[in-house]
């Protein structure tokens, strides 16, 4: 990488991090309980009143962190999935991984959530099992005879598998109890339900570890972009890299959506914006996707909860509001270029 290019890339990262910080400030200052900027600042450095401590540290901060981390997780997962499928329109939500994760989540909520103290620690594992089930099903079904993956087929199968898992989830939750049903319904809309520190302590290490592992794949993923044959000649195992990318995508997306709800299009939107900004080098698009995913999800959640106080709008609806049209735009653009 040329030094000049590297400098401008560093600038991008710095600017987007500044944006994260601004979004954070925006979000931490908004809520039904009015706190002035000064009070927020004082509370953050440990000089707050009982109430402002409660508001910031118990209500706002955990939720903000969960949105930031969950957004990053979904974005990185989307980026990996796009590499795996070789298609920039792949999204973990559209392809049914979220639906699989929700299936695991509902199983957990219905049968294990009260089983022992801190049982919630198991949530990402349950979601992962559901997510990996969906992934295996989709990949198995989408593979053609010559073992390549047809993208159109993949997307259609993703939609079908998604519908199937969502149906099972809603069916189960309807049969179980009113509470499970309303939880599942609000989860499907992309409602950030996890709001406590325990959830932060679950999602943060999960996303951090698997994102770092994903970053280690950045270089081989770059080679894959040139073509599988080329990548093979450089001595890497294409199959190994791709399977790892898929596995990490499932781990990251299911762990994240288990906490932040069914956020569709984010895994598409964030990596795309990142590519628009810095090009296709995964060493850069992966971290930048993560940052953008964080910003988009936190902003959506903040707007949803503060603009409509008595009737909060789930973050997923806002993300889809931007992501849906963007997806259509990309589809049209793609079609034209073919």
């Amino acid at each position: 990488m040329a030094p000049k290019r590297r400098n401008s890339l560093l600038l991008y990262i710095l600017v987007t991090l500044l944006l994260v910080f601004l979004t954070f400030l925006f979000s931490i200052n908004l809520g039904s309980y009015h706190l002035s900027l000064l009070e927020v600042a004082n509370t953050l450095v440990g000089h707050g009143s009982d109430n402002s401590i409660l508001v910031l540290f118990e209500y706002r901060l955990p939720r903000i962190l969960i949105a930031l981390v969950g957004g990053a997780g979904i974005a990185v997962a989307g980026s990996l999935l796009q590499s795996y499928t070789g298609n920039h329109l792949a999204d973990t939500g559209l392809l049914g991984l979220h639906a699989g994760a929700s299936f695991g989540l509902i199983i957990f909520m219905s049968f294990f959530s009260q089983s022992f103290l801190y049982a919630e620690m198991l949530i990402p594992f349950f979601a992962f099992i559901g997510g990996i089930l969906a992934a295996i099903l989709i990949v198995y079904l989408a593979k053609s005879k010559n073992r390549t993956i047809n993208t159109n087929k993949l997307i259609l199968i993703g939609i079908a598998v998604s519908a199937l898992f969502n149906a099972i989830t809603l069916f189960l939750s309807l049969r179980l109890s009113d509470e499970t049903y309303s939880f599942a319904a609000s989860w499907l809309l992309g409602n950030i339900w996890a709001r406590d520190w325990i959830h932060v302590s679950i999602i943060l290490p999960w996303v951090a570890i698997f994102s770092l592992l994903a970053y280690r794949l950045a270089h081989p993923l770059n080679l894959l972009q040139v073509g599988d044959e080329f990548a093979q000649t450089t001595g890497i195992s294409v199959k190994y890299i791709k399977n790892n990318a898929l596995l990490l995508a499932v781990l990251l997306s299911s762990g994240s959506v288990a906490m932040v709800g069914n956020i569709s299009f984010l895994g598409l939107l964030a990596p795309h914006l990142a590519r628009q900004l810095v090009g296709s080098d995964y060493r850069l698009t992966l971290p930048l996707s993560a940052i953008l995913g964080s910003i988009i999800l936190l902003l959506s959640d903040t707007i949803g909860r503060s603009l409509f106080e008595a009737n909060p709008i789930p973050a997923g609806i806002f993300v889809a509001f931007i992501g849906g049209p963007y997806f259509i735009f990309l589809l049209l653009k793609n079609n034209r270029s073919v």
Binding site: F21, S32, N51, R60, R283, E309, P312
Partner: protein, 304 residues
């Protein structure tokens, strides 16, 4: 891998720098609710039904949850709650709004509140009510005991009994003592018939002592209603039909379609003009205020 740590450390640094910028202590905005007179407790209600029981006792809560699908206070309680803080729906209470209202005590429905009980208790002591147990009279009496309004509760219940006796007499007079009744609800999705369970069962078949029409008892008490097709309304063979129509154009349109149908017009209750069109609120609000207002509404309809 370094690239990952760089952004992370920048974020942390930025957060702390930003926070350190304005280091002045303010003590003016500390919460203090002890200044309230002990008799005038600030009560926060996390159940729309408890809110309406409280209003029946002349206690105006400092804040209340809102009706889930309505997104607002119920119309029958809204006039009393002009100054009350909205906490959002019971399933997703806005904790900050709850804190803003500075409650001394929180009343809540066990069903929804148990999951977040510890969070509520951080704000104020919580009184849990199992609203599935007992009738609204029991809940009202219990609230009366807890908030020194026992007499008001007794008074309210006896006023209610008196009102219903009058209506009962009028109904007997108009439709005969053994008149059977059913209640249905038209929504834009489906047609529902109410069972003997809440919210419609107790007021019709216990308070007003109407006979459940054929097959109503058989619906059981597990569910408040069952979905039916309009062709089978006649099978219930009810003398009186209560039709719950939401207060919106959409529901009104569906109702107009139903009344225009031949199935509807062939019903005996329709031909004898023994139909009561009632609104979802207050009729479906199983609370002291809700049922009392429903009885008042029926009384007005009977006069006409």
């Amino acid at each position: 891998m370094k690239k990952w740590f760089l952004p992370a450390s920048f974020t942390l640094l930025a957060v702390f720098l930003g926070a350190c910028g304005n280091e002045t202590t303010t003590n003016e905005v500390t919460s203090d609710s002890t200044t309230e007179a002990a008799t005038e407790q600030r009560i926060a209600s996390l159940s729309i039904h408890l809110t309406n029981d409280l209003i029946a006792l002349d206690i105006i809560p400092v804040g209340s949850v809102v009706g889930g699908s309505l997104g607002d206070f119920l119309p029958q309680s809204a006039p009393y709650l002009k100054d009350a803080v909205k906490y959002g729906p019971a399933k997703e209470v806005d904790m900050e709004a709850l804190l803003v209202s500075k409650p001394d005590v929180i009343v809540a429905d066990e069903e929804f509140a148990t999951a977040n009980l510890a969070d509520y208790e951080d704000i104020a002591p919580v009184q849990l009510f199992d609203l599935d147990e007992g009738t609204w009279r029991d809940h009202l009496t219990l609230l009366g005991q807890n908030f020194n309004k026992e007499q008001k509760a007794e008074q309210f219940i006896s006023d209610y009994e008196k009102k219903t006796e009058e209506i009962k007499a009028k109904l007997d007079e108009q439709f005969g003592e053994n008149a059977t009744a059913m209640a249905i609800r038209v929504t834009n999705k489906e047609l529902r018939v109410f069972s003997t369970a809440r919210p419609m069962g107790p007021i019709l078949f216990e308070d007003l002592d109407l006979e459940p029409a054929n097959g109503i008892v058989e619906l059981g008490t597990e569910e408040p209603y069952q979905v039916i097709s309009k062709e089978v309304i006649g099978d219930f063979d009810a003398d009186i039909i209560f039709v719950v129509v939401n207060n919106d154009e959409e529901a009104q349109k569906v109702y107009d379609q139903l009344t225009a149908s031949s199935v509807w017009q062939s019903l005996e209750a329709v031909q004898k003009d023994q139909i009561f069109v009632v609104s979802d609120q207050p009729w479906l609000d199983y609370s002291a205020l809700g049922n009392s207002m429903a009885i008042d509404e029926l009384s007005n309809q009977l006069k006409e």
